[in-house]
């Protein structure tokens, strides 16, 4: 397994001061699609400064958690709170200031394909209309430079590789200057260099004070970028703890996930 501990990331990760009110929480969430339970009585806490990863096999509901935390989906029951505000059941417009503290990098990047890379990164600023076009372009260039794709400013998403799309998506997330950044399978489909770049970027973001929440099944990336881990299995949280606790866990499903064996075939 690759070792990503030499990325030169943030030494202070996990040591940032925590405000008890500065967190994103979900409590006793139940969510189902077409009668199939995706989450059942699921509770989760993301505190500012503690970078987390949610692990689980494909289809276990990891992405659903991110969407529920952002208020993109409504749970069947339970509550989601950003800071002090419970956003469950509220119209989107009423929790927009809270949601703007969070950015997300979707699995495929979710870049707007009718816009150039520059327009994608500056999208929120163009929408808000507070900055002049020149100011927006300067910010866009800075963010693209941070992720190392500043030459792609005038290209369209269709002209980018998978890795570049993800880096542009990170730049778009950064342009919003969020406190929290969610990553949905950020390394899926990337070559080792692409994976290295994404991990490196995540660590640099953590170094700049951003709290990251990642869902993935890429263990190397997870252990390189997070302090706390949650393992999902059959709609429920089966494990929550540190890297050491996870590696030492006796839960059969966790062990199976960490070290797949012949028995794992066709599971």
């Amino acid at each position: 397994m690759a070792d990503y501990t030499d990325y030169g990331g943030d030494d202070r990760k996990g040591e940032r001061a925590m405000n008890s009110r500065d967190s994103i929480r979900m409590e006793k969430i139940c969510y189902s699609i077409g009668g199939r339970k995706i989450l059942e009585d699921f509770s989760f806490l993301l505190e500012r400064g503690v970078n987390r990863t949610i692990l689980g096999v494909s289809g276990s509901g990891k992405t659903t958690i991110l969407k529920l935390l952002l208020g993109l989906l409504d749970p069947d029951s339970g509550t989601v709170s950003i800071g002090d505000l419970c956003i469950t059941g509220l119209p989107e417009a009423s929790f927009m200031p809270q949601r703007k503290r969070i950015a997300i990098v979707f699995q495929g990047g979710a870049l707007f394909d009718s816009m150039t890379v520059g327009e994608n990164v500056g999208y929120r600023m163009f929408e808000e209309g507070r900055l002049s076009e020149g100011e927006i372009t300067a910010v866009v260039r800075e963010k693209l430079s941070f992720v190392g794709v500043d030459t792609a400013l005038d290209l369209y998403p269709a002209e980018l590789s998978g890795g570049m799309k993800k880096r542009v998506a990170i730049a778009r997330a950064l342009a919003a200057d969020p406190d929290y950044i969610f990553f949905d399978e950020p390394t899926t489909g990337l070559d080792p260099i692409g994976v290295y770049n994404i991990c490196n970027l995540m660590q640099r973001l953590q170094g700049e004070g951003k709290t990251t929440l990642m869902v993935t099944h890429d263990l190397a990336t997870a252990f390189a970028t997070s302090q706390r881990f949650t393992f999902l299995h059959q709609a429920q949280m089966l494990f929550e703890g540190s890297e050491e606790e996870m590696k030492g866990s006796c839960i059969p499903e966790v062990r199976e996930f960490l070290e797949p064996t012949e028995r794992s075939l066709f599971i």
Partner: protein, 257 residues
């Protein structure tokens, strides 16, 4: 079919109906609220309206020609071929022009709206916009709605004019005096017919835009889901256009007294 299945189907139907009209209502309200997305509306007008011009011209030309051809055959035994211009005009302006233009635009534009928005949904672009703080209805639906409200009446007027010209070409081939053809137009038409011919495409434009957007924004699954949503949008729009055509015609007849 047992009661539980009927119950589920009815529940699904009314749920869809409620969501459809909710989207239509929210879209209408947001027309008057900032930001207005002028640039996006103009782009949509060009994409949805101007690009349908050629297909509407073709539709108008050949439907006008066939209308004149059939009328001439029917009117000839009564020596009333001089009325062909009026017959073509009144039929095209009141009924066929709006309906045919709307059906052509539905096939071309309604499916395109659904496919575009559906692809945005399945590739999470719509979710990304929501996270960025964008009101999806204002950003994606209203510009298309406004474009269709303006474009379809204009396309219908073009279709009507071209169809009358098509009828004229066919009549000339049957040695009908051009002056007689043109002078027959006002004999059959009243001002209310022109109003009806413009009101209908406004309603049809709204139907195409709302249905296309509704189906697109509710797309589920991947490429297959997008295809299914586009098919649903075209079928639903076409049916709604034909049904609403009847009711609008009925309302105009009632008001005419």
């Amino acid at each position: 079919m047992n009661l539980a299945v009927t119950d589920r189907i009815l529940l699904f139907f009314f749920h869809e109906l409620q969501n459809y009209f909710t989207l239509a209502g929210r879209t209408f309200v947001r027309i008057f609220r900032r930001p207005f997305y002028y640039r996006e509306s103009i782009i949509q007008f060009d994409k949805l309206g101007f690009s349908s011009l050629f297909i509407c011209i073709l539709t108008g030309l050949f439907s006008g020609m066939v209308m004149a051809l059939q009328s001439l055959i029917q009117l000839k035994p009564f020596a009333a071929t001089s009325y062909v211009g009026g017959m073509v005009a009144v039929t095209m302006v009141k009924e066929l022009g709006p309906v045919l233009a709307a059906l052509m635009v539905t096939g071309r534009v309604g499916s395109a709206i659904t496919a575009e928005l559906g692809t945005m949904v399945v590739t999470e672009q719509v979710d990304a916009m929501r996270v960025e703080g964008t009101d999806i209805i204002k950003r994606l639906v209203v510009p298309r709605f406004k474009a269709m409200l303006l474009a379809l009446p204009l396309l219908t007027i073009v279709t009507d004019i071209v169809s009358i010209f098509g009828g004229y070409i066919m009549s000339a081939g049957y040695n009908i005096n051009p002056v007689m053809y043109i002078s027959g137009l006002p004999q059959f038409m009243v001002f209310q017919d022109l109003i009806e011919g413009v009101v209908k495409p406004v309603v049809f434009g709204a139907i195409i835009a709302v249905t296309g957007c509704y189906a697109g924004l509710n797309t589920k699954g991947g490429a297959e889901g997008v295809g299914a949503a586009a098919k649903k949008a075209v079928v639903l729009s076409s049916v709604l256009i034909l049904v609403s055509d009847f009711f609008i015609a009925k309302i105009f007849i009632v008001f005419r007294g």
